[in-house]
């Protein structure tokens, strides 16, 4: 029998016992709906998590450190290659080399130092780090009060909320942080901080810059600034900085205890020649050395390219660190979560498939005579089998379609309900529900396959029916 005939007969047979077949189809729908609901919850949560992480800039950043520097992030420290003492140092030329690697968006030196900031004549010791202009798009500055640096050389700072609290003499409460950033920002924005820092100066004899002009006009370190001797002098400097922004979130959460609370524009920070921790080890180094960076942050175009870029940088003789490993275990976690949710969702579908078997076996008993007639007028075993398969398949597809719609609706309802709850808790709404197109397709196909499998036994039984006995049956 041809497929259009088969489908037509199957649909007409399904219509004949409409109630029973509808109930069976509803059973499949509920099964599919629970499967879709469970899986889209898992997928939604995963998307939410990776969206958050992606925005934080954690996933597209590789931190490069020199192998000379023993104090690195501790991950994947490679013992192979040149010995630490002979390996390359991170200077401007390596930064440019890394920046020219394929798929690298930018590479910038990490400038970070602990120093004193004076606000209304009170000193505050804190970690300061420099940010490139591209950091503007970082999630942490999304809901910032004030604005980001007006230029890469502006004498401006963005401070983190915790530091703002410190400046205003407020102690952060433990537990739920209810302090409003806006209330912290309004007395601070536009105010001035005085930063006292140690400037590394080539040597008093060769330096052309006076103490006063050094702060603002010092040239950017580059290859031409070779040092005459191994030694350099350290000069105490002051720099006035205007507070232009107060950030709510912590942009450097990945760095843990070494994270900075005050941020400077990168070019400005470079021009200051602030004494960095690594400089102390450079004292004994050859005089031709350029100023070295403690580490370089490399931002890649796409998180999926991180591994390749890391490998390329390692080949150059540096240590690298990225949060990719952390993201791997996150993916693993979600794979397991999806599996469990899928299993629970499938249970309902398994129950529904028993419903299909039951309905079709009942149909065989009921339509015994009809099967006998069909065989008597020339239907082959295959025709009868295909007819029952078609009925099971039709119920499966229909149940799948209705089920996906139902699952989607359930998801929307839960999402809505949760967001109402979140709103009451004064939390921003979240979209932790996702029904991707592949899930829609896969759910319907899955329902279809499960239905066909359920139809296997009834169809086989119907096909084997003895026509003589079936015709005798009243």
């Amino acid at each position: 029998m041809k497929l259009p005939d088969l489908t037509e007969l199957a649909v007409r047979n399904l219509r004949e016992s409409l109630l029973r077949n509808s109930l069976t189809t509803v059973g499949i729908s509920v099964g599919v709906a629970s499967l879709v609901a469970m899986l889209s919850l898992g997928i939604g949560l995963q998307q939410l998590a990776s969206r958050r992480l992606m925005k934080s800039g954690l996933f597209d950043t590789v931190v490069v450190t020199s192998r000379r520097d023993l104090r690195n992030f501790g991950h994947e420290e490679e013992r192979s290659g040149p010995a630490p003492g002979e390996s390359r140092i991170l200077d401007e030329s390596t930064r440019q080399e890394i920046e020219h690697l394929p798929n690298v968006l930018e590479a910038y030196p990490d400038i970070r130092f602990i120093t004193e900031l004076h606000y209304e004549d009170k000193p505050h010791l804190t970690m300061i780090s420099a940010l490139p202009e591209s950091a503007k798009s970082n999630d942490a500055f999304e809901q910032m009060q004030g604005h980001f640096f007006s230029s890469d050389m502006a004498a401006e700072v963005v401070i983190q909320k915790a530091f703002a609290e410190e400046l205003l003499g407020k102690t952060p409460k433990s537990g739920i942080d209810e302090t409003n950033v806006a209330s912290l920002a309004s007395p601070l924005l536009g105010k001035e901080l005085v930063m006292r820092y140690a400037q590394r100066e080539a040597s008093p004899a060769t330096s052309s810059s006076s103490a006063k002009s050094a702060a603002k006009d010092a040239p950017i370190p580059s290859g031409d600034q070779s040092l005459a001797g191994a030694a350099y002098s350290v000069v105490s400097r002051e720099q006035k900085l205007k507070i232009v922004g107060v950030a709510d979130l912590d942009p450097e959460s990945m760095r843990g205890p070494t994270r900075a609370r005050v941020f400077l524009p990168l070019k400005l920070a470079e021009s200051l020649h602030v004494m960095q921790p690594t400089d102390l080890r450079e004292i004994s180094r050859a005089a031709t050395d350029q100023p070295a960076y403690s580490s370089i942050s490399v931002r890649v175009k796409n998180p999926s390219q991180i591994r390749a870029i890391e490998d390329a940088i390692k080949k150059m003789g540096f240590n690298t660190f990225s949060i990719l490993d952390a993201s791997r275990s996150l993916q693993q976690f979600f794979a397991v979560l999806d599996l469990f949710l899928g299993i629970f969702g499938s249970l309902a579908l398994a129950v529904a498939s028993i419903g299909i078997v039951n309905t079709l076996v009942m149909a065989i008993l009921e339509r015994r005579r009809e099967i006998g007639i069909m065989k008597a007028i020339g239907a082959s075993d295959g025709d009868v089998k295909k007819l029952f398969f078609a009925e099971a398949g039709a119920m499966g597809i229909l149940g799948g379609i209705v089920g996906v719609a139902l699952g989607w609706a359930i998801g929307q309802a839960i999402n809505l309900g949760t967001n109402i709850y979140l709103k009451r808790q004064a939390l921003p709404p979240e979209h932790f529900w996702a029904v991707p197109w592949w899930l829609v397709g896969a759910a319907i196909v899955f329902a279809f396959i499960v239905s066909l499998l359920s139809g296997l036994y009834p169809a086989g039984r119907a096909a084997r029916l003895d026509p003589v006995q079936a015709l005798r049956y009243e």
Binding site: M1, K2, P4, D5, L9, R12, N13, E16, R369, E370, G372, I373, M374, K375, A376, I377, G378, A379, S380, D381, G382, D383, P467, V468, L471
Partner: protein, 258 residues
């Protein structure tokens, strides 16, 4: 023994049964429904199988129809040994070589007459376009063109049996097998049906094997009467009455004694 006579074009009879047996096992007992039957039917012949209930006449018909398989012996229809056909081939044989009508009509209740008549064409994978006109033609032939879109339950017994005849003939089989076709009909309607069967037999040259327990009916229409008892052949006679009746114009007004 069957009377050798008119045969198929290549010389062999349309139906030939040799030492045909069909035994059923019922617990300890073995029921010999058909027990060593020898029978030949010529192409174009109208044969009536007579006997009391339990004589095995329906079993013989089922064996010829390919609905059942012999325990031993053989049934050869148009040179094909049914016992040697696969299930698939047997289904094809039922589809194209045999048309069947039953005492209880056996139309599918959920389908209209047109759909019932169309059904064997679906199995035979006849083109969709052709099926409609062929079904209409067949129903017109049995006088049911006005009832095409009715369901069997909306029709009288005679009308249902006429639709069943149309269905049996739709794939142009060589053999028409009828199992008590008038059993559920009043005598007047029965005659109507029998006249149609004889018309197909005479005009289309179809071989007809009819099972009945009504001797009068058999004598009136069949060319040959075969008597069965306990699965064995007990009588085989040419019917001169039918031969003469055939010459008379068939008329529904004639009464038949049961």
């Amino acid at each position: 023994m069957g009377t050798p006579g008119r045969s198929t074009p290549n010389g062999s009879p349309a139906i030939r049964a040799e030492q045909l047996c069909r035994h059923y096992r019922m617990g300890e007992a073995v029921i010999r429904a058909v027990d060593g039957l020898n029978l030949q039917v010529r192409a174009g012949e109208f044969v009536a199988l007579l006997g009391s209930s339990g004589s095995g006449k329906s079993s013989v018909l089922n064996l010829i129809a390919g609905l059942d398989r012999p325990t031993s012996g053989s049934v050869v229809v148009h040179d094909r040994d049914l016992a040697k056909l696969s299930r698939e081939e047997l289904a094809g044989y039922r589809l194209r070589t045999v048309g069947m009508v039953f005492q209880s009509f056996n139309l599918i209740a959920s389908m209209t007459l047109a759909e019932n008549v169309e059904l064997p064409m679906r199995f035979a994978e006849v083109d969709r376009g052709k099926r409609d006109s062929l079904a209409r033609e067949a129903l017109t032939r049995v006088g049911l063109q006005a009832r095409m879109n009715h369901r069997p339950s909306e029709l009288s017994g005679g009308e249902q049996q006429r639709a069943a005849l149309a269905r049996a003939l739709i794939n142009r089989p060589q053999l028409l097998l009828a199992d008590e076709p008038t059993g559920n009909l009043d005598s007047r309607t029965g005659i109507e049906i029998m006249n149609m069967v004889r018309e197909f037999n005479r005009q289309l040259g179809m071989t007809v094997v009819m099972v009945t327990h009504e001797r009068a009916l058999a004598e009136r229409y069949a060319d040959r009467l075969i008597f069965l008892a306990d699965g064995k052949l007990v009588g085989d006679q040419a019917n001169s009455v039918a031969a003469s009746a055939a010459r008379i114009e068939p008329s529904g007004r004639e009464a038949v004694r049961p």
